[in-house]
Amino acid sequence: MVPLLYFQLLGAALFGIGLYGALARRSAVLIILSIELMLNAVNINLIAAASYLNGIGRFAAFDGQIIAIFVITVAAAEVGLAFAIILRMYRNRGTINVDEINILKW
């Protein structure tokens, strides 16, 4: 059996890549993609933890999988709304580059 630590390292690495992408990308679509990567890193963590807890005979063994399903569902809704807003943005402003989205600033 693969140790829990490996899964957690994979999750942390994916989460870090996603966070870097969300902060460094210029296109709004790629930012949303990076956030998806972060959410899926969380899912790996959750399912690995649930499987580990199941292995050592702890209670609530399926909670992790259930949360992962909820996270996937909510992420889908979030992406739907995000693309609707990005589309509207493109119609109003002609760009989805977040560097150029700067009417509102101090």
């Binding site: 949360i67 809704a77 807003i85």
Partner: protein
């Protein structure tokens, strides 16, 4: 799931059903007045069901409705704490709906969706304040945030879609961080329920003298605070606040600034006081740091603002800081942990009254003069006496001057901080008092512009009667909380007894 469980979640179901009904009514008829009427009168159903639950609590003398042991599989707690916030959220939603009557004409065909999204967001908030389990909290947070993001992008102009996009992207980012924290907590304690998390943590905390029990818990708490900080609009997670406040439709901003903030603070109180109680003196230092940062950043940057909605964005960051002082006041010298949280509840109620009054006046004035620049408010006292006086009173309340509710709220929050007996908290109170003095400058500047300068135009600025009614109610609430704070403070104290297991 039993019939009793259905009764417990009935206010939530009624509110979600009302949201659907508003959208259907909008499909069937084009009359705006009817739509507002249905949305406003329909709020009576969840309010009545909540009142019924409260009456049951009062008659049995309990603080929590849990006769059946499991409340919807242990995911919710319907108690005095959640009911307190239910009424606060419903009141804010009702008043905002009344005020949207004039404003919603800008949205042309989409008015039904606007009110529907507002009610759905309120449903999410009511779910959030009673959630005692991590999955439910995550779902409720998203149900609160996503409709608000859609509403922020509602106006057909570039500013509004920019506001919606910033709100959505930063919201998604912070909820991903929070979710990672939740995954760590779940992996560490093996449970998603707050009471079981508390038990697992106290077993772990007694094993070693490590701060926060372990590095994993420390990391998880920092990540959770990133997500909660976004909802509370506390620094350093405040980057979105001024942009969204400036670009989004004003009634939505009014709702966001009070109801969403109140729900977020309810969540923070429940998670930290119930879930992380065993970590005792560790986490309040983090919250105290956030409080100092929020107060200072909010007040200093607000001084330079020329747009009134943007100024209120910074003002709300500063107020998040004051409220966090109360949240950080966890332990007091005599061992009771209810002073801090009850002062937070009172502050949130008083802040709701003051901020709603201010935003309602801004909605009316901005709707007529088509500008949110403070310079265009000059001589508003002559153009719209009622609106100017209400806005002036709200600004005086936000400074924290008697006889307004926020005066007592600030005193309670700072007294709770002093009462902890920690020297760090005393310093925090000093920072808070200095910041209150700084805030007087930019609030009084608006009053000076409105009351002392000569008007540019002479045409009168007025509003329709539902707007005036909502403004009147909010204004009276400011004064009522300032003259007679005791009943509400008593309710707040009974509400927070739930947090310490009462």
């Amino acid at each position: 799931m039993t019939a009793y469980d259905l009764y417990l979640v009935s206010p939530l179901l009624a509110l979600a059903g009302l949201a659907m009904m508003v959208i259907i009514v909008d499909l069937l008829t084009r009359r705006t007045g009817l739509l507002v009427g249905v949305a406003f009168v329909g709020l009576a159903a969840p309010a009545a069901l909540s009142a019924w639950q409260l009456a049951e609590l009062v008659s049995t003398g309990e603080s929590r409705l849990s006769a059946q042991g499991s409340v919807v599989l242990h995911t919710l707690s319907i108690d005095r704490f959640s009911l307190f916030f239910n009424f606060l959220i419903l009141a804010a939603a009702g008043l905002v709906i009344l005020v949207s009557t004039d404003y919603s004409r800008r949205m042309e065909r989409l008015q039904g969706e606007f009110f529907g999204l507002l009610l759905l967001s309120a449903t999410g908030m009511m779910l959030l304040v009673s959630a005692t389990e991590l999955i439910t909290m995550y779902i409720a947070l998203e149900l609160t945030t996503l409709p608000l993001a859609a509403m922020a992008a509602f106006l057909p102009n570039g500013r509004s879609s920019e506001a919606g996009m910033k709100f959505l992207i930063i919201g998604a980012l912070s909820s991903a961080l929070m979710l990672y924290g939740m995954a760590l907590i779940y992996g560490f304690t093996g449970s998603t329920r707050l009471d079981e998390i508390a038990a697992a943590l106290s077993a772990g905390a007694s094993a070693g003298a490590f701060p926060f029990g372990s590095m994993a818990v420390l990391l998880a708490i920092v990540l959770l605070l990133a997500g909660f900080g976004f909802k509370m609009s506390a620094a350093p997670f405040q980057m979105w606040v001024p942009d969204v406040y400036e670009g989004a439709p004003t009634p939505m901003v009014a709702f966001l600034s009070v109801a969403s903030k109140a729900a977020a603070f309810a969540l923070v109180l429940r998670v930290f006081y119930v879930g992380f109680d065993a970590l005792g003196g560790d986490w309040w230092v983090l919250l105290a740091g956030l409080a100092a940062l929020s107060m200072t950043i909010g007040n200093l940057v607000a001084i330079a603002q020329r747009n009134i909605k943007r100024l209120f964005g910074y003002s709300t960051i500063a107020h998040a800081g004051y409220i966090l002082v109360g949240v950080a006041a966890v332990a007091s010298v005599d061992g009771t942990a209810t002073f801090g949280p009850s002062s937070v509840l009172f502050y949130l109620a008083a802040y709701t009254a003051a901020n709603l009054t201010a935003f309602f006046a801004i909605v009316c004035i901005g709707n007529r003069i088509n500008s949110d620049e403070i310079a265009d408010y000059s001589g508003m006292l002559r153009r719209a006496p009622f609106l100017a006086i209400a806005l002036g009173l709200a600004l005086i309340a936000l400074i924290g001057v008697p006889p307004t509710g926020l005066f007592f709220a600030k005193i309670y929050v700072f007294a709770a901080a002093i009462n902890t007996g920690e020297s760090l908290m005393t310093w925090l109170v000093i920072i808070g008092v200095v910041n209150s003095a700084v805030s007087a400058y930019y609030y009084l500047r608006i009053i000076k512009v409105m009351f002392l300068q000569t008007p540019i135009h002479t045409e009168r600025v007025g509003a329709s009667w539902p707007v005036n009614v909502a403004l009147g109610i909010a204004t009276l609430a400011i004064l009522w909380l300032g003259v007679a704070p005791t009943p509400l403070l008593g309710a707040a104290e009974r509400a927070v007894s739930v947090l310490s297991g009462g």
